[in-house]
């Protein structure tokens, strides 16, 4: 299905006001937690229920696979096979929950940090890495997987997500849009404009802030003086929540509720997940310059994959055998990735002129001709 050729009819969907008092919009005082760091069940705040075990098992599977993918990508940078890779190790719960809360018709708007989410959504891992291998700016077809191209200019994607959600609403469809952004990205003007537009147009979009405590080297304390980033929602009339971002069960519960809220026509939702970027900003970063090992070690203890495994094992819904099966699947994906990424993509420099416009302009045809001659000269 090609989204761009669809011919929606703009129907007069009424735009109800968000209404609601300020109190009803604010997040809970402490982040929602359903599973403790020790992997035992926590008392959920009212309104939240743990997702079904089958879903949690599936979440575990995708987290393990995601982590293995991430690790493999990092290794590939060391071998010079990727230009750069921004790892999201430590954020598995957020990335997988973000995807599992969606249905097929929904859209995901990711950042460069969200490779694990792309893999979880079913994007071919090789195509996830097209950008980072330097082959092209986007490797997959956004319209088939309903994942927008990975966005680098921070927070700009939130407006696209809002527009896409608004398109859904206007067409009378029941799709929801999930938009990812980092803690640093919340400082950009586009964050503000997107939340405001979404609230005013009552667009079915969930803004999901993965607060991993750093924007490259800049710690949260230098980024914002707000009580939490989730407290930004009330200023737009947007219902907001904060959640323990390393607790898959909690993130999935909160996001599922947020998506349901949006899908049922109650407007946008803002969720902040407290998590941590375990690696440097990218493989090229040198995090020792700005944070100490103790902090990283403290967060290791809160590892989201370990926590979910302990929880599911404790609950008796994940066997040792299951764990091994999942790990084997992850290894298989990594092996497949290694094999396929080694095959150099055949890149035709002349393709550079193919997608600037629907049809190349006369000027581009001239320039294309010039490059073609140069390339022939080189071959000769």
């Amino acid at each position: 299905m090609s989204v761009t050729t669809a011919a929606p009819v703009a129907t007069a969907v009424p735009v109800p006001r968000s209404g609601g008092t300020a109190e009803a919009l604010l997040p809970t005082a402490v982040p929602v937690q359903l599973v403790t760091e020790a992997g035992t069940a926590a008392t959920p705040p009212p309104g939240y229920v743990a997702p079904p075990d089958a879903t949690l098992r599936e979440a575990y599977r995708r987290m393990v696979v995601g982590r293995r993918f991430d690790q493999q990508a990092t290794t590939l940078t060391r071998q010079g096979r990727l230009a750069v890779y921004p790892s999201s190790r430590g954020q598995e719960a957020c990335q997988v929950a973000g995807v599992l809360s969606l249905q097929e018709q929904d859209w995901l708007f990711p950042t460069y940090r969200d490779s694990m989410a792309l893999v979880a959504r079913g994007v071919d891992p090789v195509e996830v890495l097209t950008l980072l291998r330097g082959d092209w700016h986007c490797g997959y077809d956004p319209t088939t997987v309903r994942v927008a191209p990975v966005c680098t200019p921070l927070a700009t994607q939130l407006l696209h997500a809002t527009g896409m959600a608004d398109a859904t609403r206007r067409k009378g469809e029941d799709g929801v849009v999930m938009a990812f952004v980092g803690d640093g990205g919340t400082s950009e003007g586009d964050f503000h404009e997107a939340l405001n537009f979404a609230a005013v147009f009552h667009a079915p979009v969930v803004f999901f802030v993965q607060n991993n405590k750093y924007a490259i080297s800049v710690p949260l304390a230098k980024q914002s003086a707000a009580p939490t980033l989730a407290h930004k929602g009330v200023g737009y009339g947007i219902r907001s929540e904060q959640v323990d971002g390393n607790d898959l069960v909690a993130v999935l519960a909160v996001l599922t509720a947020a998506v349901a809220h949006a899908r049922s026509g109650r407007g946008p939702f803002l969720v902040e997940a407290h998590t941590y970027r375990m690696e440097g900003h990218t493989n090229a970063d040198d995090p020792d310059r700005y944070r100490d090992g103790d902090e990283v070690r403290r967060w290791s203890a809160a590892d989201p994959v370990d926590r979910l495994r302990t929880y599911l094992r404790g609950k008796g819904v994940l066997t040792e055998q299951d764990v091994e099966t999942v790990q084997a699947e992850a290894e298989a994906l990594a092996a497949d990735l290694r094999a396929r990424i080694d095959v150099e993509a055949l890149l035709d420099p002349l393709e550079l002129f193919a997608h600037v416009y629907a049809d190349p302009t006369p000027q581009l045809l001239e320039q294309r001709g010039q490059l073609q001659t140069e390339l022939q000269d080189t071959e000769d």
Binding site: A354, H355, Y357
Partner: protein
């Protein structure tokens, strides 16, 4: 045939588009009930409802970014920016997304959207209301850049722009909004977006102009005719893609060329045109390609804009310097500039 202003023609183009194509959405600041500060969207909300023509919150990056998402979702957004300088907050969305989406996605995601920008001076606007910002867009690959100078062109170019598969920055010369023409908008006399047109044939030199400068060039040609100089006037209409063929054909024939633009000259579109023309017509040229442009200063306050705007005299001054007698290499200097 009826007497139509450019503002009315643009309004009719939007109306006819909204009628014909359900996917079209018109939005921006004050485009709803008010009909836009220049009334280009007058009556559209009444006719098509709030869902087809609507006000947005006051944020230009926001409304362009919303347009990107709506276009991805299958709509054809026509976004109005209220004044030229108020497009600058949207520059990142325009340069990094609107212009690049098709290319980034290897052709899989197109963004057929139009960004309408009233531009240029001559209407006594206070600061930030009279910028000529075409060069910023023309220099950004992936955008098409269009600017009408006549009423009929305004109608057809805007219709073409909305139908175009690529994003179009549609620059409306503010001071021509109230210009009138006997026009039959029902009949398409105008070829497609992407072509220049010879507005006045002539033999002695070519004036290349676009948007608000076209009437100036035509008036200069009329005055020059009285002095026995026969000027050809080309209205470029589309800056990107550029119609090299029409331009080159004209200049090779006349052998002399003046480019007229209202924007500040340095690194403007006129520079590009002069550069291309001399590249393509060097051996046909009897004189350098001269430029008549705004000064390289911020747009002046209303009471001084007369001193800024390139008018007939400044164009004729350049025409007279086109080396009918040979004075090597000081020709570029306007009188007084030495």
């Amino acid at each position: 045939m009826a007497t139509v202003t450019m503002a009315q023609a643009l309004n009719a183009a939007l109306r006819d588009t909204l009628r014909e194509d359900d996917r079209t959405l018109v939005f921006g600041e004050d485009v709803g009930r008010l009909g836009g500060v220049f009334r280009i969207t007058d009556g559209l909300t009444d006719e098509f409802g709030e869902e087809r023509c609507f006000d947005t919150p006051l944020a230009e990056s926001g409304l362009v970014g919303l347009g990107v998402g709506l276009a991805m979702g299958g709509f054809r957004p026509v976004v109005e920016i209220q004044f030229d300088a108020f497009a600058y907050p949207a520059f990142e969305q325009i340069a990094s997304h609107v212009a690049k989406m098709r290319n980034r996605t290897r052709g899989r995601v197109a963004l057929p959207m139009v960004i309408r920008i009233p531009y240029g001076g001559g209407i006594g606007g206070v600061e930030h209301h009279s910028d000529s910002s075409e060069a910023y867009y023309a220099h950004t690959p992936g955008l098409k850049v269009v600017t009408p100078a006549t009423v009929e062109d305004a109608y057809w170019l805007l219709r073409d722009a909305v139908r175009d598969p690529d994003p179009v920055v549609f620059l409306e010369p503010k001071k021509l909004y109230w210009s009138k023409q006997e026009a039959d908008l029902g009949h398409r006399g105008v070829p497609a977006l992407g072509t220049a047109v010879v507005r006045r044939p002539g033999h002695d030199a070519t004036l290349l102009a676009y948007g608000p400068s076209v009437p100036v060039a035509l008036e200069a040609a009329r005055e020059a005719a009285q002095a026995g100089i026969d000027l050809e006037v080309v209205d470029l209409r589309t800056l990107v893609p550029f119609d090299d063929e029409t331009v080159t054909r004209s200049v090779r024939r006349t052998g002399r060329c003046v480019v007229v633009q209202e924007a500040q000259g340095f690194a403007g579109v006129g520079a590009e045109i002069a550069a291309r023309v001399q590249e393509r017509c060097f051996h046909s040229l009897s004189a350098p390609v001269l430029r008549v442009a705004g000064f390289d200063i911020p747009y002046p306050p209303p009471r001084l804009e007369h001193a800024y705007l390139p008018g007939v005299d400044r164009v004729l001054d350049a025409v007279h310097r086109l080396q009918y007698d040979d004075v090597p290499d000081t020709i570029h200097l306007a009188r007084g500039a030495a």
